[in-house]
């Protein structure tokens, strides 16, 4: 009997939860809804737990200043745990609640939603996720990378290496990468550039989860002895690579990492900023706290009588969250302005996103220009290097080998 009662209670609780949830969320007149997918609990939680608060804080800042042209923004954040089926559920939820746009999170999730976004005509942003080919707005009309793709990052890495070494002819470059689709993506660009610039390229794959790369590093430092290393790793792997390279005596000033191996947390986990002196990182959003927008967020917290959140100290990922939010807000602003203050549709917000131009937020955002054909905005990056215990900007916004990237995009488009 007691067993039965307890089991019945369980069933009742589940039913009640469902019934209760059915009547949630409704849009008010002067409020717009943004959907944000995030991963605060899955394998990429170290990124999500810092990036998503950045997004939320910027939206809160905009709302505290009266919203966008009088419209308040409500963020509907859904944790997809870096799994694909919950990402689809999240998208449908955003659609049901009338979200004007959504921030995607995760490469396989972006791949799985590309088609759905197009069918439902809701724009989704995928900075640092998804395929480089999504920069082509004709092929992927509703997917917006809005930041340098892996191809653009690879081009930038080679250009940086060229500058550092004063030419590439006859040099040896090692490409250390995570053995998954995202890790392999830059290969076509690197191989192309190796031919064009006359340097030697050798690849070193690190199998998932990338915590053990002694063999690869020994191969690089002991046998191949490259003039430069381009690293493209995820998760815990970047810090392992820094530690191993340092341990084998390879100068970190000859290493450049693409965007997911470039956060303070990666460097600190490798043994601290002091140890990683000279390590170069590629960034698609501003780094550090020296931006008016971040000062505003701090002031907002101060006005509420709260300390600034500790996530702000992890500036690389936090700033990327702010960066994504800022572009979302700017797209909305453009759309509302174009409509003379009326509530825009998601189609109009897409047009708003495609007309972003000259929006730099005090050097925080690159001088990108989005259009209906270029959803990447030009593939701008900065290089930040560890110097004296912190990340220092050594190269301002630039586009690495833009013509080569465009050639690849055209070639890829003609293939499909």
């Amino acid at each position: 009997m007691t067993r039965f009662v307890s089991s019945w209670l369980g069933v009742a609780a589940t039913t009640a939860t469902l019934a209760f949830g059915a009547g949630s969320a409704s849009a008010q007149s002067k409020e717009v809804i943004f959907g944000l997918q995030c991963d605060r609990t899955g394998p990429t939680a170290p990124v999500g737990t810092v990036l998503c608060p950045g997004y939320q804080d910027y939206i809160a800042l905009i709302n505290s200043k009266g919203g966008v042209e009088g419209y308040k923004i409500k963020v509907l954040e859904i944790d997809n745990e870096y799994k694909v089926p919950p990402a689809m559920e999240a998208h449908e939820r955003f659609k049901k609640d009338g979200a004007l746009l959504e921030g995607l999170y995760g490469t396989p999730q972006t791949a799985a939603l590309n088609k759905k976004l197009e069918e439902d005509k809701i724009l989704g942003t995928s900075p640092g996720f998804g395929t480089a080919a999504a920069a082509d707005g004709k092929r992927f009309p509703y997917t917006f990378p809005i930041a340098a793709s892996y191809w653009s990052q690879a081009g930038a890495a080679v250009e940086f290496a060229k500058e550092k070494m004063g030419g590439l002819k006859g040099k040896k470059i090692a490409y250390l990468f995570y053995d998954n689709p995202a890790g392999k993506e830059p290969l076509v660009v690197l191989e192309d550039l190796a031919k064009a610039e006359g340097f030697e390229l050798r690849t070193f794959a690190v199998p998932a989860p990338g915590l053990e790369m002694g063999a690869q590093i020994l191969d690089i430092t002991g046998r191949y002895k490259p003039d430069f290393v381009i690293a493209h790793l995820f998760g815990r792997a970047p810090s392992v690579s820094i530690k191993e390279l340092k341990g084998k005596g390879f100068p970190l000033s000859k290493v450049v990492s693409l965007v997911w191996g470039s956060a303070e947390a990666d460097i600190i986990a490798a043994g601290g900023m002091g140890l990683a002196e000279g390590y170069n990182t590629i960034q698609f959003a501003g780094v550090g706290k020296d931006f008016p927008v971040l000062k505003d967020i701090e002031a907002m917290y101060k006005a509420q009588g709260k300390p600034a959140p500790k996530e702000m100290d992890s500036t690389v990922y936090y700033n990327r969250g702010v960066f994504i939010a800022a572009l979302h807000v700017e797209a909305l602003r453009n759309a509302i302005k174009a409509k003379g203050g009326a509530m825009p549709t998601s189609e109009e917000v897409k047009k708003g996103m495609e007309s972003i131009k000259g929006f730099t937020l005090g050097g925080f955002v690159p001088p990108m220009e989005l259009s209906s054909t270029d959803h990447e905005g030009g593939g701008w990056v900065q290089i930040w290097t560890v110097k004296g215990g912190r990340l220092v900007k050594v190269k301002d916004w630039f586009q690495g080998y833009r013509p080569v990237i465009q050639k690849q995009l055209a070639a890829d488009a003609s293939k499909s």
């Binding site: 067993r3 039965f4 307890s6 089991s7 019945w8 369980g10 069933v11 589940t14 939860t17 469902l18 209760f20 949830g21 949630s24 969320a25 995030c38 605060r40 609990t41 737990t49 998503c52 608060p53 939320q56 804080d57 939206i59 809160a60 409500k74 963020v75 954040e77 859904i78 944790d79 799994k83 694909v84 089926p85 919950p86 689809m88 559920e89 449908e92 939820r93 659609k95 049901k96 490469t107 396989p108 791949a111 799985a112 939603l113 590309n114 088609k115 759905k116 069918e119 395929t131 080919a133 053995d179 998954n180 689709p181 392999k184 993506e185 290969l187 076509v188 199998p207 499909s416």
Partner: protein, 355 residues
């Protein structure tokens, strides 16, 4: 399913094996069919249909895994990899040869069954944890192969886009259309499994699970039936992978990694090993519970937290509550939700005259 006589009155094997133990069961089925085919798709918002769609796909996969783990007693943690085999087979056939779904879907299942038999071969010599490790190896080898062979994966991104499934020129493109597409296959999988487990094959599976030496002595060829279990189970997994592929419009091996195999194992353990209804309940539970917890907390949490704080609270709490509920249900009934449901029914069997 819902109804029972107030005692055990079966006197023949045929009566014990019947698909519909009582005439009223047939009517229950008809009511359920009307509910799912006519009422739900018309009455429910597309968002809820999308959740049902995910559940339908999960049901197919969970049924397959339950045939292997629950009925035959062979542990497998390579279920996700078999899904990817089905997914890439179907995607390649659909894109390279332009074949329709009614060919690619069984083809994906058959290819997965073939690979499943190969991965299942160690089961002839080892069991239990050893077999788990052997199937884990299968999972990793398949992942590696797909990642490394462009002929299968279709290039560096290892993803192949497919068009929406279409039948006689009608394209299943919205969640509402896909609902019928997936409902059909989920229903087919349920009916097929119900029939499989009450047949000679199903009983042979159970015999192998309960005591393989005894099964061999009474004349069951255990090699044959173990491999058959792997084949059938992988066929379901392959079909499940194909359904995912058509549902998302893309085959991508990152959707089918080890964690997916673990998720499906969780489904059948929570639902109940060795039961069809358990697979269904488990698939519903694992898919729906995180969503239900989130929706519940969005409403309740809004009373206590600000918008930005809530995102963090929900993510963390949801995981905690989800885990706690799994533990709770397994303590209340270690044999899963299916057993829980049966307990409820047996309580009502002679209600209100129980003693």
């Amino acid at each position: 399913m819902f109804h029972r006589e107030s005692g055990v009155f079966k006197t023949t094997y045929a009566a014990d094996m019947a698909l519909y133990p009582l005439p009223i069961a047939k009517w229950t089925m008809i009511v359920l069919a009307v509910l799912f085919v006519l009422i739900i798709p018309l009455a429910v918002h597309e968002y809820y249909l999308s959740i049902l769609n995910l559940i339908f796909i999960a049901i197919v996969g969970a049924l397959g895994l339950n045939i292997l783990v629950g009925y035959t007693g062979q542990i497998s943690i390579g279920h996700g990899a078999f899904m990817s085999v089905g997914a890439y087979t179907a995607a390649n056939l659909a894109v390279k040869l332009g074949l329709p779904f009614w060919i690619t879907l069984p083809a994906g299942g058959l290819m997965a069954a073939l690979i499943g038999v190969i991965v299942g071969m160690p089961s002839l010599r080892i069991k239990g944890l050893y077999l788990a490790i052997a199937t884990l190896a299968g999972q990793l080898i398949i992942e590696w192969t797909i990642n490394r062979v462009p002929a299968i994966s279709g290039g560096a991104q290892a993803s192949i886009e497919v068009d929406r499934p279409s039948l006689f020129g009608f394209s299943f493109s919205t969640q509402g259309h896909l609902y019928f597409f997936l409902l059909f296959f989920a229903a087919l999988a349920i009916v097929a499994t119900l029939n499989l487990v009450r047949s000679r094959i199903g009983r042979a599976f159970v015999a192998v699970r309960d005591q393989d030496i005894a099964a061999e002595i009474i004349g069951i060829n255990i090699y044959r039936y173990k491999l058959l279990a792997f084949a059938v189970s992988s066929f379901y997994a392959g079909v499940c992978g194909v359904l995912y592929t058509y549902y998302f419009g893309i085959a991508n091996y990152e959707q089918f990694q080890l964690v997916v195999s673990i998720d499906y194992l969780a489904m059948i353990i929570i639902g109940g090993l060795g039961s069809v209804l358990g697979s269904i309940l488990g698939a519903i539970f694992v898919t729906l519970l995180p969503i239900a917890i989130r929706i519940f907390m969005e409403d309740v949490g809004a009373l206590f937290f600000s918008q930005a704080e809530m995102a963090n609270v929900i993510s963390g709490l949801r995981l905690g509550v989800f885990g706690a509920l799994i533990i709770f249900f397994l303590i209340v009934e270690p044999e899963g939700l299916n057993r829980l449901w049966r307990n409820v029914r047996s309580y009502f069997r002679v209600w209100p005259f129980s003693y």
